[in-house]
Symmetry: C2
Subunit: 331 residues, 2 copies
DNA sequence: CTGAAAGCGCTTACAG
DNA sequence: CTGAAAGCGCTTACAG
């Protein structure tokens, strides 16, 4: 059973010291070209790769980023992770993905593991239960930068990269206004979430600028509930020119079920518009028009912020990514 | 900046040797109860946790499993990972998730990283490009068990945990027969994939047992293509009693779009049935009837196989998880 | 230009 | 029951 090659083995075979091999492999200027050449050749031949545990033990640094998300079955996080991986590859980092299952206790365990592993940095969308952000700040102090994305804490002084909730809600509302629709049924998520508040406020304010507009606002905390409330509200609109706005994919899935159940078809019988990461709107015909919240963009932004932190930038910053309208056939 | 506590620090504070601390913390019988007690108390107080790099360097073993999947935006893999994490937590292992992006080169890099990290075991769904399985076998030889799941290689002598393709196709076909439907439009995926062959063969054979049954088989390698081929085929069926069978979620998404586009509604105008992991069928009203392929079950099966390998079982085994019918309202 | 040595934090065979 | 010592594989200040 051939073991992984080590510096020692290479050194013995070449009759040089371990130090020399180590230096040659990292192209240290002290080592002669000739020595470097023969060492590199043998290392290539043996497919030498440094033992990451030994390196870490010595240097206290891993070239690893951690990404922590509440859930993986989510197009938005998926594209976020894609963006991080793309960038990380370029800079020679690898990416470890953790899933908190939206459980604050698991999140704490993951954090601890990240600390012990001395990851180079953490990208995290916190759970909805997370209240204590002291552990995160502590990591930052210990030299492990933390970039919060999407689900971020209220606390001001940390690095936050967010979806432009107001902006997305605004362009959805404008699209409704542009179509001259005067009756609007808007379904929002959990009243207590800051994301709901931000989207609701902007949406209402834009819609409120129209004349004679009739806006009904409902809330749902799950896909099932969204189906129920939409189902109950729809009869009041049938026959009139109206639009349904869904503030998220979770809501959209439920509302679309209610709409199908009532036998209504967009854009003939009603308009449908959502804020979405872009997966679910494509499953229907016609495709649903939506204000896109792009995980991919957020990933790119987060990564460049991370690299700045690693380079030593210490001030915290909140970055907001703007949304764009993706036109389907549902309005 | 307070560093992480180490054995040395605890030893110094308590005026004992590092060896004693190490032993006390792992409840070694040699150490007196009294000593153990005071050491454990201090360790708790300091929130001591062994440095995983040092432990690994010494013992050549990490308590980590790697899960490698082609894609994360997939309900099936998501529930597979859930199952693995649940079990791993119980046994004190942590789980690292890698994504190969269905790229054989990235897969190789991940494998290399797993080897260097000396993970305790690997669960992998291989890419569709993967042809050389020698690297996997090599890991097995080096004492890192590899459990293939879902997307598995042809090679016989390895541990494979698969979805029951034949079984799922069989129960979907039976459901169609039971409903007395004589016209069947079946859409399958990439002709070259073994999964397609297995499902097709069983499906055809069960349908073939019916009398006067008219079966049309089409292929599509993407959601868009599924939409196109379904769209082209539908007009031939309108007005007759017929069913559409979709062999996967990818196909289902496309076919449903075509069905919606033609203004057809299940179960009034046609029957719809699929093989699915259970996410997409729930987005429609009525919900689509499907033969379930459960990632969760597969995860549980894979994990118990893994633990057996770690315990020393050396013979390879192929396990097939059977499917069950989830009745929606589409038939 | 090259090497010997110390040390990262742990485990464990050996000695007492 | 406890400790000194070696060593896992690496890096780097120090010496020559």
């Amino acid at each position: 059973m051939n073991q992984n090659p080590t510096l020692k083995k290479i050194a013995e075979r070449l009759n040089v010291s371990i130090s020399t091999v180590s230096r040659a492999l990292k192209d240290h200027p002290d080592i002669s070209l000739e020595t470097k050449k023969k060492i590199n050749e043998l290392a290539d031949l043996l497919e030498y790769d440094p033992n990451p545990y030994a390196v870490n033990l010595r240097t206290h640094s891993s070239k690893e980023f951690a990404v922590v998300v509440p859930s993986l079955s989510n197009f938005f996080y998926h594209s976020f992770i894609s963006a991080i991986e793309e960038e990380a590859r370029i800079f020679g980092y690898s990416v470890i993905i953790y899933r908190s299952s939206n459980d604050a206790k698991i999140e704490q365990e993951i954090l601890k593991s990240c600390r012990h592993k001395r990851v180079s940095g953490i990208f995290i969308a916190i759970t909805s239960e997370t209240t204590d952000i002291a552990p995160f700040l502590k990591l930052d102090v210990h030299g492990i930068p933390v970039i919060f994305f999407d689900k971020v804490p209220q606390y001001e002084s940390c690095n936050k990269i967010c979806v432009g909730d107001e902006h997305a809600a605004g362009i959805a509302a404008e699209e409704i206004m542009n179509k001259g629709i005067k009756n609007v049924l808007a379904i929002f998520g959990d009243k207590n979430m800051s994301i709901t508040k931000a989207r609701l406020e902007k949406f209402s304010s834009v819609i409120g600028q129209g004349e004679d507009v009739n806006l009904q606002i409902l809330y749902a905390t799950s896909t099932d509930e969204a189906e129920q409330v939409t189902l109950a509200a729809l009869p009041g609109y049938v026959g009139r020119k109206f639009a349904v706005f869904c503030m998220s994919d979770e809501i959209l899935a439920g509302s679309m079920k209610a709409i199908q159940r009532k036998g209504l078809q967009a854009p003939k019988d009603l308009g449908v518009i959502a804020i979405s990461d872009g997966m679910i709107p494509l499953l229907f015909y016609p495709e649903i028009t939506f204000a896109e919240t792009s995980g991919y963009n957020l990933g790119k932004l987060s990564f460049s912020r991370m690299m700045r932190c690693i380079a030593g930038s210490s001030f915290a910053q909140t970055i907001v990514d703007e949304s764009r309208l993706v036109v389907g056939g549902s309005m």
